[in-house]
Amino acid sequence: MSTTPLVDQLKGGLDAPICLTWELTYACNLECVHCLSSSGRRDPRELSTAEAKAVLDELRDLQVFYINIGGGEPMIRRDFFELVEHSIDNGIGVKFSTNGAFIDAEKARRLTAMDYLDIQISLDGTDAVTNDAVRGDGSYDTAIRAMEHLRDAGFGEFKISVVVTRHNVDQLDEFKALADSFGAQLRITRLRPSGRGADSWHDLHPTAAQQVQIYHWLLAHVDDVLTGDSFFHLNALGEEPLPGLNMCGAGRVVCLIDPIGDVYACPFVIHDEFKAGSVRDAGGFAQVWKQSELFTELREPQSAGACASCGSYDACQGGCMAAKFFTGIPLDGPDPECVSGHGEAALLAASAVTVPKPAMDHSKPRRVPVTIGRR
């Protein structure tokens, strides 16, 4: 019925984001090697409870239907439940990502009692060896224990969220079986070279053959696996597109608020170049979303650049902006994981440029053995 295709209209931006991620804290009990936000230590500039509630009130006025809360580990914040309740009471549904460390039997019951709340437990392997290599010692057991608590409390359908890597790609069926055994929903997402992921991406990202494997696995599971729309670069592999909007939503339908209130184009680009402003600025979040220079620019038609002559551009849209940026590939170049094979040359060319580093690093300091005494 409409004259312009929806995707073109969405590229021009919405009045408010559909999908807003809010990392509540940089503090985390874990230190995953692919952490998008290089989390570990709390930032002293973190938004206060009052500031966070004011942002929620603003999101309510903008009619943001739901938010994705993450971190760091969001449950570390002492006001976690207070903020979640404030959000839900204001008609903003909450989906939060957690490693599960703070979900005991009591918390599981408390979470179960809340409406409009979804929980995603992060897990990157169906066995402790595979998972803990990425997420740290003991993290597999922690996640499974949290799932057991949620099941025992009768939470219902929580989500298990998996970042697909070279080492767990063969476990996709097992992840599905694990989710089924808990009455949970499986969600798989793409590994990005963002945050600490910049250092681990080259060792962890799926091989070209594995990308084909992921594409076919997803096609076979379109109805029962969530992806957060994150694999659209794979659409160049076949006639049949994966479900979803098939576009980069950064600054158009998606954005990130970080723990100190800075607003970035998406959760994968915590870097000054993609910082649109702060919720602490005059005019607050709404002003940043509606008028920031960066978001205005992202909503203008983007050049296909080096991909313009490729027949697959309509299918893959040139891939992920963040994946290019943090591997040193120009933004109008191919995705580093381009399924038509253009990524390798681009990565090679990029090896001579300085790859941008994330804006902030909240990783815990390395423990170096200290020798005490005289020389």
Binding site: L6, Q9, G12, Y116
Partner: protein, 89 residues
């Protein structure tokens, strides 16, 4: 379809957008794009009208366009955005 009585599910919120509106169902978490301002007008007008045909008339929608509205509304019913009204007409 045209003689049926549908209304917006109370669990659904509409948010105006340049292309029409977004409809979000807090119960089933579905998000639907209403891709034309006329569809939004019709959906908002459903309440208080006896039938879909009456709503379309009230909204000044030309009859040749009715079938496409009927299918758009049927899709919205399938995703539980709209539901059958109590047949107390």
């Amino acid at each position: 379809m045209l003689d049926r009585t549908l209304s917006l599910n109370p669990q659904v919120a509409l948010r105006p957008e340049p292309f029409g509106a977004l409809a979000y169902h807090y119960g089933n978490r579905k998000l639907i794009f209403l891709k034309h301002p006329d569809v939004v007008r019709v959906v908002e007008a459903l309440d208080g009208q006896a039938t879909i045909a009456a709503t379309l008339t009230a909204c000044d929608i030309d009859e040749p366009r009715w079938p496409s509205f009927a299918s758009a509304l049927a899709a919205l019913e399938a995703s539980e955005m709209l539901h059958e009204h109590d047949a107390t007409r």
